[in-house]
């Protein structure tokens, strides 16, 4: 009885997809991949590079294995690995992803000298006092007054926004842009219900909260229900 093929090549609308079986060993897989690509080799020189996708099913690939497969395929013919898709991720990655997509709710006052960090979005019920810092990988929503420093999108998310019931920060940071309060702040000025975001010129703009409805439609998590 002939063994099932470990490597199958399929053409889809998006281009070539290599399906790699997830039950055989990695060594076996490499061997077969090598054979298959060599066997099919027709002398087609001076052709453009094909980009292919790999689908590895339920196989977990380490970074090294990914590189190995990529270089193996690159050596053969004019194929370039565009993307590797796997149905499995490590628990760690899953936890990280979950944390990044979660809104962390905290109810306290961030006082001078304290730093509050959230991997994803941060919802703070309380104030950030001068000298205090809040940092988040995603957006920062403060139901209280922001009088200290807030850094949203700290891993480079430029879409991140900062909102506060009272916006009187010493400094605002979004991704790697920085904005600070003007030196001459009118003390009695009310800065209520405001938001900060990065505009097209990579400047941090502070505006009414409502502008976000149009500027950041992807803030919506709620789907449907019109």
């Amino acid at each position: 009885m002939k063994k099932r093929q470990n490597v199958t090549i399929k053409g889809t609308k998006e281009g070539l997809v290599l399906h790699l079986d997830d039950t055989c060993s990695f060594e076996e897989l490499k061997k077969e991949l090598d054979q298959k690509l060599s066997a099919n080799s027709r002398t087609q020189e001076e052709r453009n590079l094909f980009s292919v996708k790999l689908n590895v099913g339920n196989r977990y690939l380490t970074d090294e294995q990914r590189e190995e497969l990529k270089s193996l395929i690159r050596q053969k013919k004019n194929l370039v690995v565009d993307d590797i898709e796997s149905d499995v991720i490590t628990k760690e990655e899953a936890k990280r992803l979950k944390a990044e997509n979660e809104v962390m709710t905290v109810s306290r006052i961030v006082r001078s000298g304290q730093v509050l960090t959230a991997p994803g979005d941060l919802l703070l019920i309380g104030d950030v006092n001068p000298g205090g810092t809040v940092v988040a990988g995603g957006n920062i929503f403060i139901m209280g007054s922001l009088k200290g420093l807030a850094h949203a999108g700290c891993f480079g998310n430029e879409e991140a926004v900062i909102t506060a019931s009272s916006m009187k920060p010493t400094q605002l940071k979004i991704s790697d842009s920085i904005n600070r309060a003007p030196d001459t702040m009118q003390n009695n000025e009310k800065r209520e219900m405001e938001c900060a975001y990065i505009d097209e010129d990579r400047q941090i703009i502070v505006d009414r909260l409502q502008v976000l409805i149009h500027l950041r439609p992807n803030l919506n998590r709620f789907e449907g229900g019109h």
Partner: protein, 267 residues
């Protein structure tokens, strides 16, 4: 079993020592057995404010290093009938001479014999502060209506809130100048309490009498005619959980009224 209260501020010069001396005096006037502990090792002056400097024989470091018994180091205040004692700080060494665990043990021992132990904390957030905090159950934060003092108070509150087995700190706003507060040149009480969001336990007006009294080694709380004295006595009564409802705002308003009257009266 007594209660240990640390009096701290972060910033220097806001009146920690004066507040310690006066709350201690006021508590003793209420008939409580009080021990004042000066933890500002190397820069002691609670003894000076209390007028007990020349009676110091042993100090806190002597006790901690077992060169003497606690009761030998305690200085008795003759003005009170065995109700008020002071454990002075050492002057010849620095703050690293004592460890937090030693302080904890010491305060624990004092708690057996006294109703209230008031710990006068040094300025800053270093070892001296950690020492002062070690044995305390409660904290009173002293601040003045200045941005810098409030900022430091905020930091200190943050540090105290992290301490387990300590209650939420209470606030004393010291050195209030009413005309400046009125004109908006000084932070007002509302602003401060809102900013720090801890319970206000008393406000004390800026009063020259306080300085005079300190220089004479007589806490102002002994003088029943001064406004500052009443303020300290009120704080003491609130610490005792006495019937005075804690209405800091009305208290402040009252203060404003009497002050304005006085202000115009003087003119």
């Amino acid at each position: 079993m007594g209660e240990a209260i640390v009096i701290t501020s972060g910033k220097g010069g806001v009146g920690k020592t004066t507040t310690s001396a006066n709350i201690g005096t006021a508590l003793a006037l209420q008939g409580k057995k009080v021990c004042l502990v000066d933890t500002d090792i190397g820069l002691r002056n609670l003894d000076v404010v209390m007028g007990l400097e020349n009676r110091i024989i042993y100090d806190l470091v002597d006790v901690v290093e077992k060169r003497c018994k606690i009761h030998q180091a305690l200085v008795k205040d003759k003005r009170f009938d065995g109700l008020l004692y002071l454990l002075p700080a050492a002057q010849t060494v620095d703050k690293s001479a004592v460890k937090p665990e030693q302080m904890k043990e010491l305060i624990g021992e004092l708690k057996q014999d006294y109703d209230y132990i008031l710990i006068d904390c040094p300025a800053g957030i270093e070892q001296g502060f950690q020492n002062a905090l070690a044995g305390a159950d409660k904290a009173i934060i002293v601040t003045t209506p200045e941005v810098s003092a409030v900022r430091d108070a905020d930091r200190i509150i943050g540090l105290i809130e992290k301490q387990r087995n300590m209650e939420a700190p209470k606030l004393v706003v010291n050195r209030i100048r009413n005309h400046m507060m009125k004109s908006g040149d000084m932070l007002d009480i509302d602003e401060i309490t809102q900013h720090l969001s801890i319970e206000l336990i008393g406000i004390v007006a800026d009063d020259e009498e306080v300085i005079k009294a300190s220089n004479h080694g007589e806490p102002i709380a002994l003088n029943p005619n001064s406004r500052a004295s009443i303020a300290y006595r009120n704080i003491a009564r609130r610490i005792l959980g006495e019937s005075i409802p804690l209405q800091p705002l009305e208290e402040a308003n009252q203060g404003v009224f009497t002050k304005i009257k006085k202000f115009f009266g003087v003119r």
